[in-house]
Symmetry: C2
Subunit: 200 residues, 2 copies
Amino acid sequence: MAKQLWKPSTILNPVPVVMVSCCGREGKPNIITVAWAGTINSKPPMVSISIRKERYSYNLIKEKGQFVINLTTRKLAFAADFCGVKSGRDVDKFEVLKLTQEKASVVDVPMIKESPVNIECTVKDIIELGSHDMFIAQIEAVSVDESLIDKKGRLCMEKADLICYSHGEYWSLEKTLGYFGYSITKRKEVLKRRLNKKDR
Amino acid sequence: MAKQLWKPSTILNPVPVVMVSCCGREGKPNIITVAWAGTINSKPPMVSISIRKERYSYNLIKEKGQFVINLTTRKLAFAADFCGVKSGRDVDKFEVLKLTQEKASVVDVPMIKESPVNIECTVKDIIELGSHDMFIAQIEAVSVDESLIDKKGRLCMEKADLICYSHGEYWSLEKTLGYFGYSITKRKEVLKRRLNKKDR
C-alpha cells in the first residue's frame, strides 16, 4: 500500500514507560512517569530521561543529581498513568497511590518497593533540546525482586509482566517471538534453549 | 518479597527495537537494528540512537549525517534480528532479506518499504559515552502506510503490530491497558472512547 507523508512528530513506538522516583535536597520524594527514556550506553551502563522544565520533578532531579528508574508492570499501569498526569505540587503520589518507599543502596532517593526492578542513577549531564531537557545518567546499582530469579540465579524478566507505551496507550507484552541472534541460529539450538527455559 | 542488589547493567526494559537504514557518502545502503533508541524531545521532535564505533553502519551514519528509523513489526522480527547480528561488511541485507528500498522525501537514505512507519532523521550531534556513541537527531519527516489510517484520517497504530525488545527477546504487544490520562478520567469518558475506537 502507498504511504502518506506526514510532518515531523514523536512517532517512534513502542517506548518504555518508567516511573522515576526523585526528591530534591530536602523536600518530599515524588514520582514522575517518563516515556522519553532509554538505554544509551552499555559500558558503563547509562540511561537518558527527558523531562520538561515546567514539571515539578525537573528541579528535584536537577538539584539532587540523582534519581531511580522503577520498571512498570501491568499491576502498576494505573499508578504509572497517574504519576504521568498529576503533579507532585498538588498531591503526594506515594501516599495517594499507596506505594511504598524503599531505601536505595547508592543514591539518596527512595525506590518504589512495588516495582520489581529499580535502577539507581546519578546525573552526568543535562542537555537542553527544546521542550525537554535530556538527563544523561550513569546506572550505579540495580535491585531485582527475588521472585524474578530462578534456582540457577538467572533473571526471568518475563515473570515481571512489564508494560510499554505506544501511541498514547499502555500495552502489555504478549509472547516472545525469538531471542537476540535467533535468525542465524540452528533449529536444534533454538529447541534446546526452549527446553532450558521450561526447566526454570 | 526481598530484593537482590545487582551490579550496574543495562536493565531498562522493554525498549524499542528499530531498523535503521543508512548509507555512506557513496556506498550501498545498509540496515542496522538498534535497541538503544528513543524519543528525547517533543518540540522539535528528536530521537537518539546509540551505536558502537566498531559497527559498519557507524561510519556510514557519521559520514552522511542522515538515517531513517523504520518501525519493526511482528512480520519484520526475523529481519530485525538478522540486521542486528550480521554485518553490512559481509552481506547486502536489503538483498538477502528481500527488503525493498523506498525513496525518502527529505534525506538521501532509502527507507524500508516493508516497514509501515519510516522516520527521516538528520544528525545534530554525536556524544561519545564509552562503548557506544549517541547520535542525537532531529526528525525531518514521517511516512505512514495508508493501511494504518482510518476513514477520519486518524492513525491506528495498533494495526501495525509493532514489537519491542525485552531482556534479549523480541515481544509482540498484547492488549491495551488504558490510554494516557485514563487514571483521572471518568468511567463515562472511557466507555465513549472505546465506542469511538470500534467505529474505525
